[in-house]
């Protein structure tokens, strides 16, 4: 394995050198770096041109300029020297620009990527299990639809309806019976498709889910919940006990009581802890991510203890399932705290909760939770936009690999052994189906680090894409090379990681 990594790194370095030279030559020849100065009518034009020639070393041959750039870059790897990616035509340090842009891009794409993977895999999994059902067709249709929609247009629509429209609605947040019924019809339809089985069962699911949705919406609207949203202790209890049930079912099945009990116990502990934790975290003195992480650690520890205590002979599974339950309960408590901060946040931004542009409200003066809401409100639309377009590939991939896995011999063997369907799907089929997705995900991370140019542009984020585009349009080679360096290194590294992960996940592969 060591040999393989060394060989790969060596080859990658050579590739990097050759491609960086190629890109450098392409960029410096992509236009006239003095174009905007040639239009200058001031008498000092020649001075400005001379200055730019000096900054960009335009009077030197291209290979020499490349070597100059390379010398600065070696500082990033060789210790004791400064990492110097050169300067822009306006004398700004590219190293600083790149780190700034990379930070923005990471914030922009991380949530979107995680969301796309989770939702995409889930949708793909279910549509594979319910192949050729209404759900399957709907997922396929939506995936292809979003995949083929132009992003800039989606962005404008999102802004118009999910930001401007939603904010107008927040001014007087009420849901009429008609809209509640419309939403209920959608959720009911989804539930029916999801449940499968015979006609009666599906109709039962539709009516139950739809009726529940309509009732909840109307009730929430009547209580003016949307103006002062919160999950409340009851909400947290229902949600966390519900997820405890689900987690227990997925990890061990409801038949193994010890696991179920320890999950439920963990959820209950969480609900009891919430009474103390919520006011504590709402206190401006204590509100911070460090404390949230600390509490999460405590919760995981408590969950592990609960699992050990109640797990009996299923101790291992119980501990794992309890810890997942604890994390889920923690998430609900966090969501509740964030929701309770909404009215305060709305007042600070004049009721315009969802933002159309930028990564934060300038000059924002809110407390810790309002600040988190501000970040979320600005992330919402771009994250949705990126998720929508990347969702397709994950749902299609996971559907394909899942279908393939389900038709494998080992799945038939597992079934014929008499294993419950849950175990066959989760443990035998899904695990194997996910292996090819590591490559897709690793490549996606690399590609997304290169920046979502259009998303960044329409939502006013200055990330890697903007850096690249701006440099290219100005024929300013250093920012483009900085962008190139980060992207290529990311792609090479993630490729390597994907290969190593493959070997770990699939024992048949040896490095």
């Amino acid at each position: 394995m060591g040999v393989l990594v060394a060989r790969r790194l060596f080859i990658s370095t050579v590739t990097l050198l050759m491609s960086s030279f190629l890109v450098f030559v392409l960029v410096v020849n992509s236009g006239d770096p003095l174009a905007n100065l040639r239009n200058d009518t001031s008498p000092e034009r020649d001075t400005k041109i001379a200055r730019r020639i000096a900054i960009l070393h335009l009077d030197e041959p291209v290979p020499q300029r490349y070597l100059k750039w390379l010398r600065g870059v070696t500082g990033c790897v060789v210790p004791g020297r400064d990492c110097d990616l050169g300067t822009t035509v306006n004398d700004q340090s590219v190293t600083a620009l790149v780190s700034e842009a990379l930070g923005a891009t990471l914030r922009l794409v991380t949530a979107a990527l995680v969301l796309a993977i989770v939702l995409g895999v889930a949708a793909g999994l279910v549509s594979a299990l319910r192949q050729y059902s209404g759900f399957d067709h709907t997922v396929s249709f939506t995936a292809f639809l979003f995949f083929s929609l132009p992003l800039f247009w989606v962005a404008v629509l999102l802004k118009q309806y999910l930001a401007i429209g939603a904010n107008n609605w927040f001014a007087e947040p009420r849901i009429g019976l008609a809209s509640a019924l419309a939403v209920a019809a959608v959720t009911g339809g989804a539930a029916g498709a999801l449940v499968g089985g015979d006609r009666r069962r599906r109709w039962l699911a539709r009516v139950t889910a739809g009726g529940l949705t309509a009732t909840i919406l109307v009730q929430l609207s009547r209580e003016d919940w949307f103006r002062r949203p919160a999950l409340g202790q009851a909400g947290i209890a229902v949600l966390s006990l519900g997820s405890a049930l689900g987690i227990a079912y997925l990890s061990a099945g409801l038949g193994r009581r010890a696991v179920l009990v320890s999950c439920l116990a963990t959820a209950t502990e969480g609900c009891l802890a919430q009474v103390v934790v919520t006011p504590w975290l709402q206190d401006p003195l204590w509100a911070s991510w460090t404390n949230v992480l600390l509490l999460l650690l405590v919760a995981l520890l408590a969950a592990a203890v609960t699992g050990v205590a109640l797990g009996a002979q299923d101790r291992g599974t119980a501990v794992r399932a309890s810890m997942v339950t604890a994390a889920a309960t923690g998430a609900f408590i966090l969501i509740d705290i964030l929701l309770r901060a909404v009215p305060g946040y709305a007042a600070l931004v004049n009721g315009r909760i969802i933002a159309t542009i930028g990564s934060q409200t300038p000059e924002f003066a809110g407390g810790f939770w309002e600040q988190q809401l501000d970040i979320l409100a600005h992330l919402l639309l771009p994250t949705l936009a990126v998720t929508l377009v990347t969702f397709a590939s994950y749902s299609r991939y996971s559907r394909g690999t899942m279908l393939e896995a389900m038709s494998q011999d080992y799945v038939r063997t597992a079934r014929s052994k008499g294993l419950p369907e849950r175990v066959v799907v989760v443990r035998h089929a899904l695990r194997n189906a996910l292996i090819p997705l590591t490559t897709v995900a690793a490549m996606d991370v690399g590609a997304l680090l290169g920046g979502a140019v259009i998303t960044e542009h329409v939502f006013g984020w200055r990330g890697m894409g903007t850096l690249f585009l701006g440099g290219l349009l100005q024929v300013d080679p250093n920012p483009v090379m900085g962008f190139f360096l980060v992207t290529v290194v990311a792609v090479i590294a993630l490729n390597l990681v994907a290969d190593l992960a493959y070997a770990l996940l699939d024992p048949r592969i040896r490095l």
Binding site: G31, D32, L34, A35, R38, N39, T41, S42, P43, E44, D46, T47, R51, R52, N90, D91, Q92, S93, A96, L97, E100, A104, V156, R227, P229, A230, G232, Q233, A234, I236, A237, L241, R257, A258, V261, A265, T268, C271, L310, R340, A341, P343, G344, A347, L348, V349, N350, I354, T356, I357, G358, S359, Q360, P362, E363, H457, V458, F459, G460, R462
Partner: protein, 575 residues
């Protein structure tokens, strides 16, 4: 086994109980705490008023006088931060900034101007603004510091001045010109007077700039030059507040790279107090600005006009105040006098077939309903005095297409005309492409074969080499005589058509040393008449501008000059 099941039952009971308890508790405590939050939020409703302006380009450095710092964006950001003795009004005329100080022409021969800095004027770090700052501005702009000295983006005028006469700490400065200079009233303007004490301190100088005024080539200045050149280039997002004091109504307060820059009222500002304590400049691309305005994230926007944005803003109706205007930039056709258009009859034939009115009607009026044909090369249709200036220049005869006249002048010839322009295949300027199409169709009927010779390298290769017949380009017009001569004088770098007329050259030289505005205007009118007679170029139209405000915003006045919107930021207000 039995213990296990008992324990399980106990836990299940516990869980159920907890659920019941919490369910009961919720309706009281949950609702209660939420409402208390709501009221506390309402209590801390925004008392700190702020206006946000959507702008496309980011700030990069505090010194806009060096070639690297000389960007429109820096000039715009620094307008309310670094005051000078004057500012551009929206109509392009100069308005003395009496808050900063006053200046008068003392005598004409030699041209002598006396500057008096307001006695209360201080940098926001408490140091008085005085003679030292003026001397630094002169040293940095005049080119007297020699080869290794300050490099300035603008030297014209300063290079004709003797060293400013003043003593250390004085606020009265007398400036004498070696030669008469037309734009004497546009010296020591906004952004040009930098804090000398910061340079002295940071460069570790032991003497002040006043001491060096007599020996401007002293090698001791090298450190100062270095700091002046590089020290004020800022890393994105990092304002080094200790070296960027303000001499204007606002100071640079916070900068989030790629997102926004905040201006806060300067607590030491001695002039007319501002009405809004916080101005935020948010970096938003033009196409995203309209929705940000609709969503209340910005209150002011003035993007580059596009018909799509105009339609978006119109659709918002009463929610926003939307107006159209003009920029100080005009599109024109330049004849190449070193080619076939050396023939005056050919120039006239072409001028007769160019559909100037149609170009304005089809391409500009959708964005600016008041648009009209540009008849002059020096005064814009929206400036006062345009009608008087444009009258009788001789360009009006080419307002309407005269195909018969053009055909007669061509006398059966069918010349091929290559129209050269900056055509970047990645982002083709649609307006230019459309203009070209209209000219092609109209002049085609007269007998010209109009060819699209647009290239991405037009200003780099084709234009300097004279490899075109007609150049289609725009001049960003300055309101200063010294800046507008370059396009028309013999041998000047911007005179791509190689037009040369000794009479025009002589008149320009007179205008550039004429210190009376009225006489300057008369000379420019003579020049413009000659340029029309020779058909040096055909001015077409002024670039349109669009401008929209949230309904509750007051006092914002569009300004198309380099001063931009922030020129009167002190009087911006929220209803």
């Amino acid at each position: 086994m039995s213990t296990n099941s008992t324990r399980a039952r106990a836990v299940a009971l516990l869980a159920g109980a907890a659920l019941a308890v919490s369910a009961c508790a919720t309706s009281a405590s949950g609702g209660g705490s939420a409402s208390s939050h709501g009221s506390s939020g309402a209590a801390s409703a925004p008392t700190n008023k702020a206006i946000t302006w959507a702008y496309e380009q980011e700030f990069s450095q505090y010194n806009m006088n060096t070639p690297a710092g000389d960007t429109v964006a820096n000039r715009v950001h620094l307008g309310p931060v670094l005051s000078g003795f004057w500012e551009f009004r929206p109509d392009g005329s100069l308005q003395p900034n009496t808050d900063f100080g006053t200046y008068v022409k003392v005598k004409d021969n030699p041209l002598t101007v006396k500057y008096s800095i307001n006695p209360g004027a201080v940098w926001s770090d408490g140091k008085p603004i005085d003679c030292d700052d003026i001397v630094l501005a002169w040293l940095a702009h005049s080119g007297v510091t020699g080869a290794t000295g300050f490099s300035a983006a603008r030297t014209v005028g300063y290079d004709q001045q003797d060293r400013p006469a003043c003593t250390a700490g004085s606020r009265e400065v007398t400036v004498t010109y070696r030669t008469r200079f037309a734009d004497w009233a546009a010296m020591y303007g906004p952004g040009e007077i930098m804090p000398a004490h910061i340079v002295e301190q940071r460069a570790g100088m032991t003497r002040t700039f006043v001491d060096y005024a007599a020996t401007p080539t002293s090698p001791d200045l090298a450190k100062a030059v270095n700091f002046y050149d590089k020290g004020w280039a800022l890393t994105p997002g990092q304002l080094r507040k200790d070296i960027i004091p303000s001499s204007g109504p606002y100071q640079l307060d916070a900068w989030t790279a790629g997102q926004s820059l905040t201006l806060k009222a300067n607590p030491r500002w001695w002039g007319t107090p501002v009405k809004i304590p916080t101005i935020v400049i948010r970096y938003i691309s033009g196409t995203a600005q309209a929705q940000a305005l609709q969503n209340g994230e910005v209150q002011v926007m003035d993007p580059q006009p596009q018909t799509d944005i105009v339609n978006q803003l119109k659709a918002m109706g009463q929610a926003v105040t939307f107006t159209t205007g003009d920029q100080f930039t005009y599109e024109h056709l330049s004849f190449n006098f070193k080619g076939q258009f050396a023939d005056a009859s050919l120039r006239e034939a072409f001028a007769r077939c160019v559909p100037r009115q149609q170009i304005v009607d089809n391409l500009i009026k959708p964005q600016n309903a008041r648009a009209q044909i540009m008849e002059t090369r020096f005064v814009f249709p929206f400036q006062p005095g345009y009608a008087a200036f444009a009258a009788g220049l001789g360009g009006a005869q080419y307002d309407t297409v005269d195909l018969a006249g053009a055909k007669k002048l061509l006398a059966g010839r069918t010349p091929t005309v290559r129209i050269g322009w900056l055509k970047n295949p990645d982002k083709i300027n649609k307006r230019r492409a459309d203009t070209l199409a209209l000219i092609q169709s109209s002049c085609g009927q007269a007998g010209f074969k109009v060819v699209d010779a647009g290239t991405p390298t037009f200003f780099e290769k084709e234009a300097p080499a004279g490899n075109f017949d007609v150049g289609m380009m725009a001049w960003v017009a300055s309101q200063l005589v010294s800046d507008s001569a370059g396009a028309h004088m013999t041998g000047s770098g911007d005179n791509y058509g190689k037009y040369s007329d000794p009479q025009v050259d002589a008149l320009f030289k007179r205008a550039m040393s004429e210190t009376e505005t009225a006489k300057q205007t008369a000379l420019l009118k003579q020049i413009d008449t000659l340029l029309w007679k020779d058909l040096e170029s055909i001015p077409l139209f002024t670039f349109p501008a669009i401008f929209a405000l949230a309904k509750n915003t007051e006092g914002v006045v569009y300004n198309a000059t380099v001063a931009n919107l922030l020129w009167n930021v002190g009087s911006w207000n929220l209803a």
